[in-house]
Symmetry: C2
Subunit: 322 residues, 2 copies
Amino acid sequence: MPASSSLYEPIATDLEKVCAVFDDELFSDLPIVNELCAHLRHYRGKMLRPGLLLLSARACGKVTDEHLALAAIVELIHMATLVHDDVLDEADVRRRGPTIHRLEGNEAAVLLGDYLFSHAFHLCSSLDSQYASRILGATTNTVCEGELHQVHHRGDLNLSQEQYLEIITRKTASLIGTCCRVGAHFAGADERVAATLEQYGLSFGIAFQITDDVLDITGNEDRMGKSLGRDLQKRKLTLPLIHSLAKSPPETQRRLRKLLTTEEPDRSTVCQILGETDSVSFALATARKYVETATTALEVLPPSDARDALRRMATLVSEREQ
Amino acid sequence: MPASSSLYEPIATDLEKVCAVFDDELFSDLPIVNELCAHLRHYRGKMLRPGLLLLSARACGKVTDEHLALAAIVELIHMATLVHDDVLDEADVRRRGPTIHRLEGNEAAVLLGDYLFSHAFHLCSSLDSQYASRILGATTNTVCEGELHQVHHRGDLNLSQEQYLEIITRKTASLIGTCCRVGAHFAGADERVAATLEQYGLSFGIAFQITDDVLDITGNEDRMGKSLGRDLQKRKLTLPLIHSLAKSPPETQRRLRKLLTTEEPDRSTVCQILGETDSVSFALATARKYVETATTALEVLPPSDARDALRRMATLVSEREQ
C-alpha cells in the first residue's frame, strides 16, 4: 500500500501536527459529541490525502501552517464521505437485521458525517484567502456528483468503461488531484506546476480506485483486514466486470449476468469467470497506465526526497496486494 | 405561519432572485443529479430563513447581491438538514417495511444532503470576504452539535428544560440568529445592531421550535399537511412533556412515562394528560416570552416596513395553528 512510514519520512513531523489540528478542530464543549468523535479513530487510516498534500508542498517548497490546516481539511472531508458510506440502506438493514448498531445507528452516522463536513469548511474559512475554499468547495461538489452518479447506476449491467472512469474520477480522483494542487500552490508553485501536480493526483486517484475495486473482488479478507465483495453486494459494476461482460462469449456472459443479480454473488465464482477473459489483468494493466501518467507528470519537479516519495507512492498503487 | 406573502412584500422580488441563485448553484452537467434535485421542490417551504435574512438587510439598509447569495446559502443549509432528517434509521425501516423509497432510498438522500451542504459552502466561497464563511461554518458546526445532542437524548425521560432549550437553541435558533446577523452586517449595520438582530433571530428561533414541537403533539394533520407525532415516535422529549412529567402527580406521571415508551404513543391520550397539568399552555406561554424578547430587540432599528414585517413575523410565531 502507498503509505508506508518510510515514504512519509520527509513529512513525518508535519503529519503529527496535522493530527493535532484535526483533533483541535473537532473538539466540542458537548462531551457526547467528543465521545462520538472518538469512534473516528477506527476510520483513521493511512492519511493518504494529507500525505500527498504535504509531499506536494515539500516537493515545491516549504510546508507552512496553511498546509497543516489544509491537510486536516482534506482528511475531514474524506472521513465524512467514509462515515456516510457506512450509512445503511434499507436493503442492508433488512438483510443484516437488528444486530447492526455501529456508531449508535444511522441517524448518528449521518449527523457525524455532517459535523465533519461542516468542520472542514469552517477550518477552511480560517485561512487568509478564499482560494482553498473555492477549490475545495468545487471538489466536494464533484465528489458528491460522482457518488450520486454511482448510486444511480447500481445494478446497471450495461455500465460502460467510460462511465465507470467518469464516476471514479469524480468520486475519488478529484479530491486527490486537489490535494496535490493546493499542496503545490500554497508552497509557492506557479499555476503550471500546480496544474501538473493536480494531473499527477488525478491519475494517481484513478489508478488507486481501479486497484481498490479489483481487490474488492480478488483480495484476501484476512490480509486486508476488512470485508470484501461490497461492490458485488451493492451491485456496483467495476472495471474487471465491465471488461469481462464485453469480452466473454454469450454463454459465459449469461452466467456472469445471472451471478451479478443474486443477493450475495460468490467471489470465487466471479474470479473464475474473470479469469476466462483475463479481465483482472486488463484492469491492473489499465491502472498501471495511469500510474505511468502520474509518474511522468512528476518530471515538472526538481529532484528531491519528496518527489521520490511521490513517485514511489504512485508505483506502489499498482503493486498493492492489500 | 410567519411567512404570509404580505409580510414578504418588501422583499418579494429579491426572494425570486434568491430562488434563481439557488437553482443556478445546484445545476449539474450530470442529468441524473438534476433529476434528483428536482425532488427538492417538495422541501421548499416558506423560505423563512432567506426571508428573515433579507428583511434584516432591508431594515438596516439595502439588499445587495451578496444578500441574495447568502439567502440561497442559508436555504441550502436548511434543506440539507431536512433531507438528512428524512434518512431512515433502522427502527423506521423495520417498522414501515419495504414500501418506503422516498428519494430513491437512504443512500441517495444522504448524498443529496451532502451535495446541498457542499454547494452552500461553495457558494459562500464566491463572496469577497471570509466573514460569512466563518460565521456560517461555525453556525453549521453548532447546528450539527444540537442534532447530535438531541439524538443522544432520544428516549431520555429525564431530559431537563435547560437541556431542551440548549438543544433547540443549537439545532434551530442558531441558524436563524445567523441569518439576521449576516443580513444586517452586509447591509452596513454596525456590530451592535448586527448582534442585537442576531438576538432577535435566536429568540425567534427558540419560540418557533417550541411552537413547532407543541404542534407535533396537538396539531391537526389535515390542516398542517404533514404527518405529526414524529417526536413521540422518535422518543424526543419536548417542552410540554418535560413540564408535565415534572408537574403531574405520581400516578399520572407513571401513565405518561409508560405511554412514552410505547412504539407509537397515541397523540390524543398524550394531549389529555398534558391537559391535566396545563403543559401546552405553559409551553406556549414560554414561546410568547421569547417572542417578546425578539420584538423588544427590534427597537434598535429605525422605523421601516421591513422592521414592521420582522415584528409581525415574530408575533405570528406564537399564534401558529399550522
